[in-house]
Amino acid sequence: MGYSSALIQRKYKDIVGKRYESVLKEYGEFLLTEEELFVPEVRSILVPLDLFVHGITDEAIDVLSAYNATISLAYITDAGVLELLGQTLDRSSAEEFRAKKEEYGRQLLEQTAAKLEEHGLSTQTRMFVGHTGDDVVRMAKNYDMVALSRRYADGESADLSISPTVLRICQRVETPALIY
């Protein structure tokens, strides 16, 4: 910092003191922040689903409707669970379990897609076996936003806390994340 710049800073400090901070705070009450001023363009939204997600809430649909975006519904069957079942059950029982869960997934995808389309949203669906956390992080790179149910990859617990997998995904993805 040159002499003139340091001199101005010294004079500024002596004349203004901490008054500017209080002025900024007063303005902050009603002016948009830098982040709020920048409205990101959202053209594609990834919505991961799994065994523990039973649908999408109306509030989430309201938010998603604000964007003119295509919603990609991805039902992920946890590969780790299937592997565990393969080790503990006989082959036919494991296949039967897998078929049942895939059927549930197909129905969930169809119902959710239909509900979203009722609200004028265009949808795409896909279903695969994979890792409920890592695969979402990987896929999110190709989307403008991720919308996650708080129950995703969690279990059937009755409390309202957010699933640890959801929190980990939010920490790792660079795209904006919506939790419903």
Binding site: G2, S4, S5, L7, Y12, Y20, L24, Y27, E29, F30
Partner: protein, 440 residues
């Protein structure tokens, strides 16, 4: 020169060097210098009370109370949002409207508060327009200094000159008001020529900006509607009282016959009366308001008056005045010297200490010549000279400091290039108009 006079000069120069450098708070530097001259008996107690201009200090105090009370209502944020909306997304309109509002508010309230409260909104508007805010901020600085120069209460040098010379609010308006109107027009023209090309936005961006600004609700800025109304009413009342402060007795005598028709109020009395009315009416906590008074500024002024008083007591000012009288042939010549010396010196020293030192000099010149035009020459030079450099006036330092904090550095040289141009053009025009009025 006697030893005591040399000591007074040394203390004066040492203190002014400290004020220019500001490694020590200016108020502390001024108080320290004053303490030395009092301690060694150059300025005895009785003389100290004469040298401290309580008219200036109480006027500043009263206006600080009014402004700090009004601030809590959201009045200034309201003005800023209304101004931004009126610009309708056009950068040139933003430049012109903010400059005019800054000049107008600076003419009635202190420049530091004005720029402190308007700059965040100006930065916000520039951000929305995706334009470099520096041209807008530089224009705001010049507008604040020009607007402040138009009235007795607009800029500290004018307050000091008005109080020392017993000049009225209306005299300032009559002699300096028109000059500052002309200078504002010139300033806007200059800024357009210098920065106009960089202020282009596409119609899409302009629409986007209008939408963003229209989403701002100026009514949301009003924190306390009742205080807002009372603040506006008291500020209007105070301004009206300033217009008639020297002949208030004539008006009061009509309704209150016991009031002496010859009675007048000092500007400081008007400000303190306004402060008392606003505090009484608004029921704001006096502790909170008094805490916000800029006590360092008041002590800075007090210290300066004592240090300059030491030069008066030791005869230094009288010696300089006699040299000037011997070498100056006419009032016009004196006006020329005072105007340009004040303008160039206040770009370096800061116009407050410069004015403090010049006032007793002009008072001494009054023994042999008509100094009435010289007060206007001093006000013109001191106020507009502040535009010359980044440290010439408090408003410059505040805006440049804020800009730097927000990531938009304005270098000393960058400011100097435009500032010196504005200084020479506006002081030149102002001096020409004063010359026509008092010399031709």
């Amino acid at each position: 020169m006697e030893t005591v006079a040399l000591i007074a000069v040394a203390i004066f120069l040492f203190t002014y060097a400290l004020i220019i450098d500001e490694r020590i708070h200016r108020a502390v530097a001024a108080m320290f210098g004053a303490a030395i001259v009092v301690f060694i008996g150059i300025v005895p107690w009785e003389a100290l009370l004469n040298h401290v201009d309580f008219g200036t200090i109480f006027l500043l105090l009263g206006m600080m109370i009014i402004v700090n009370t009004a601030r809590g209502s959201g009045l200034f944020e309201y003005i800023a949002i209304r101004t931004a909306k009126l610009a309708k997304g056009n950068p040139i309109r933003v430049l012109i409207l903010f400059a005019l509002v800054t000049a107008f508010v600076s003419a009635l309230l202190d420049n530091v508060t004005t720029v402190l409260l308007l700059t965040p909104m100006l930065l916000y508007v520039a951000r929305v327009m995706k334009l470099n805010p520096v041209p807008f901020l530089i224009t705001e600085i010049f507008a604040s200094n020009i607007g402040g120069a138009a009235t007795l209460i607009g800029d500290p040098p004018n307050i000091m000159i008005g109080s020392a010379a017993g000049l009225t609010f209306n005299e300032f308006l009559i002699h300096l008001g028109p000059i500052m109107v002309v200078n504002m027009v010139i300033l806007l023209g200059l800024m357009y020529v210098i920065y106009g090309r960089s202020m282009k936005v596409s119609p899409d961006e302009q629409q986007k900006m209008v939408r963003t600004l229209n989403n701002l609700d100026e009514r949301a800025a009003i924190v306390d509607r009742s205080l807002f109304n009372k603040s506006v009413a008291v500020i209007v009342l105070v301004v009206l009282l300033f217009f008639i402060h020297d002949r208030i007795g004539e008006i009061l005598h009509i309704v209150l016959p016991f009031v002496d028709p010859a009675m007048g109020l000092e500007p400081a009395e008007v400000a303190l009366i306004g402060a008392a009315i606003l505090l009484f009416w608004s029921r704001q906590s006096p502790e909170e308001i008094f805490e916000k008074i800029e006590w360092p500024a008041l002590f800075f002024f007090g210290g300066l008056f004592v240090i300059v008083g030491a030069l008066v007591e030791t005869g230094v000012i009288a010696s300089i005045a006699s040299v000037m009288i011997e070498n100056i042939g006419s009032t016009g010549e004196a006006m020329f010297i005072v105007t340009w010396f004040a303008a160039i010196a206040s770009a370096i020293v800061d116009n407050i200490p410069l004015t403090a030192a010049m006032i007793p000099l002009i008072q001494d010149l009054g023994t042999t010549m008509d100094v009435y035009p010289l007060w206007w020459a001093l006000a013109l030079g001191a106020c507009l000279g502040g535009n010359g450099t980044a440290i010439g006036a408090s408003a410059n330092v505040v805006v440049i400091g804020i800009a730097e904090r927000e990531g938009f550095g304005i270098s000393f040289v960058e400011f100097l290039k435009v500032g010196m141009l504005v200084l020479f053009v506006t002081v030149g025009v102002g001096f020409g108009l004063l010359w026509l009025k008092f010399v031709v």
